[in-house]
C-alpha cells in the first residue's frame, strides 16, 4: 500500500468507527481494533495502541461541551478516577506481560468475549425500564455526591444524588482493567457503574464517563508507550479519524432513531466478536 492510500484507508475506517461509536456510546475502539487486525493485518499491539490513544482525543474533543454546560459532574468523575486509573494500570501491565509471553491469541479471545458481552448489554438497553432510586446513603454525604443540571428536553433543572460509591468504584476498576487490557475506552462499563450502581441520571452518567475516559486511557497509554505498542503513523491517523467521526456522530445523534442504530450495531458486534474469537483459537 502506498503511504497516501494507507492514510486514506486508516482515516476512513477510524472515522466510521468513531461515528458509530459515538452514536451507540460504546466508543470507536470496539469496531476499530477488530477491523484493523482482521481486515488490515495490523498487529494487535499496534491496533490496541492506536485505539487507546484515539480515545483520549475523543474524550477531550467531545466532553468539553458537556463540562461547559455542567451536565458532566466533574467532582463525581474525579472521585471515581482513582478506581479507573488503578484498573487501567493493572490491565495494561497484565496485557504487556501477555504480549511479552507471545500469547497474542489470548487477547483476541478476550476481545471477542467482551464484544459479545457488549452486544448483550446493547440489547438490554433496548428493554430496560425506569427504576426507583434508593435514598441517599453515607457515601452520598461524605463525598457530597450531589448535583444538578439543566435538562433541555424536559425544560427544567434536574436535581440528583449518587449512592453506593463503593460499588460504583468497583465497577469502575473493572472498566479500567478492560480498557487497559484491550485498548478501548470502556465507556459502557463506566456508564453501568454510574447509572446502575450509583443511580445517577443517564445523561450525567454518559457525559461523566466520557470525561473520565481521558484519564483512564492516559494511564494505560503511558504503559503502552514504554512497551512500544504505539506506532506513530497508525496512531496519528487513527486519532484524527476517530475524532472526526465522533464529532460528526455527536452532531447527528439528536436527530436519529436510536432503536434501529442499536439493532444494526448489535449485529455488527456479534459478527466481529465471533471473528475475533475464531482468529484467537485458530491462528
Amino acid at each position: 500500500m502506498s503511504p497516501d492510500f494507507l492514510f486514506t484507508v486508516l482515516l476512513l475506517v477510524s472515522a466510521v468507527a468513531g461515528f458509530v461509536g459515538s452514536l451507540t456510546g460504546l466508543g470507536g475502539g470496539v469496531v476499530l481494533v477488530p477491523v484493523y487486525t482482521l481486515v488490515l493485518g495490523v498487529p494487535i499491539e499496534y491496533a490496541a495502541g492506536a485505539s487507546l490513544v484515539s480515545t483520549i482525543a475523543t474524550s477531550l474533543g467531545t466532553s468539553v461541551a458537556y463540562v461547559r454546560d455542567r451536565i458532566t459532574n466533574v467532582r463525581i468523575g474525579m472521585s471515581l478516577e482513582v478506581a479507573t486509573s488503578l484498573g487501567a494500570l493493572t490491565g495494561s501491565l497484565a496485557v504487556a506481560l501477555i504480549y511479552s509471553l507471545g500469547l497474542q491469541r489470548l487477547v483476541y479471545v478476550v476481545f471477542g468475549a467482551v464484544l459479545l458481552l457488549s452486544s448483550y448489554t446493547q440489547m438490554k438497553v433496548l428493554t430496560t425500564a425506569r427504576r426507583a432510586r434508593p435514598p441517599p446513603d453515607r457515601w452520598t454525604k461524605r463525598l457530597r455526591l450531589y448535583g444538578r443540571y439543566y435538562d433541555a428536553l424536559e425544560g427544567r433543572e434536574v436535581e440528583y444524588y449518587g449512592v453506593r460509591w463503593w460499588l460504583g468504584a468497583l465497577v469502575m476498576f473493572s472498566a479500567g482493567v478492560v480498557s487497559g487490557f484491550l485498548g478501548i475506552g470502556g465507556g459502557a462499563l463506566k456508564v453501568l457503574a454510574m447509572d446502575w450502581a450509583m443511580a445517577l441520571p443517564i445523561k450525567v452518567s454518559t457525559a461523566t464517563s466520557n470525561f473520565m475516559i481521558g484519564v483512564t486511557a492516559a494511564t494505560s497509554s503511558a504503559v503502552y508507550w514504554t512497551h512500544g505498542y504505539i506506532q506513530p503513523f497508525l496512531a496519528s491517523a487513527t486519532a484524527l479519524g476517530v475524532l472526526l467521526g465522533a464529532f460528526a456522530g455527536s452532531r447527528i445523534l439528536p436527530r436519529l432513531k436510536s432503536r434501529s442504530v442499536r439493532l444494526i450495531f448489535t449485529a455488527i458486534l456479534i459478527i466481529l466478536g465471533l471473528q475475533m474469537i475464531l482468529r484467537g483459537v485458530w491462528s
Partner: protein
C-alpha cells in the same frame, strides 16, 4: 474561575496543540521519506521514551518526532487537568477530594515512570 471552566480551558488547549502536531507530522510523513507509513513498521514508541522526547525534537524535527509530540500532548492533557484539580482542592481545603485526586496523579505518574516488562 470555577474548576469546570479551568478543565474546559485545559482540554481545549490540549486538543488544539495535539491535533495541530498530529496533522503536521502526518503531512511531513506523506511528503517526505516514508518508511514509517506501514502497518507493520518497526518504528514505534519504545525508541522514543517520553522522558527524552523534548530533547530529541529540537535537534532533529523529523516527521516521526512531530507525531510523537502530538501523541505526547494527548497524554499530557489529562495529567495537567488532574494536577490543576489537586491544586484547586488544596486551595479550597477539601481534604477528601484532595486525597482522591492526588492518588489519581500518583497512579498516572507511576504509569509514566514504570520500566517495561521483558520476559
Amino acid at each position: 474561575m470555577e474548576l469546570e471552566d479551568l478543565v474546559v480551558l485545559v482540554m481545549r488547549a490540549g486538543l488544539l496543540v495535539s491535533v495541530a502536531l498530529l496533522i503536521g507530522g502526518v503531512l511531513m510523513t506523506l511528503l517526505g521519506p516514508t518508511g514509517v507509513a506501514d502497518v507493520r513498521s518497526p518504528v514505534n514508541s519504545s525508541a522514543y521514551p517520553l522522558s527524552r522526547l523534548l530533547h530529541t525534537l529540537p535537534s532533529a524535527p523529523s516527521a516521526v518526532a512531530v507525531m510523537f509530540m502530538g501523541l505526547a500532548a494527548l497524554l499530557a492533557t489529562p495529567l495537567i487537568r488532574v494536577t490543576l484539580a489537586v491544586l484547586e482542592f488544596a486551595k479550597e481545603g477539601d481534604w477528601i477530594y484532595l486525597g482522591l485526586t492526588f492518588l489519581v496523579l500518583l497512579i498516572l505518574l507511576i504509569s509514566l515512570f514504570l520500566p517495561s516488562i521483558r520476559v
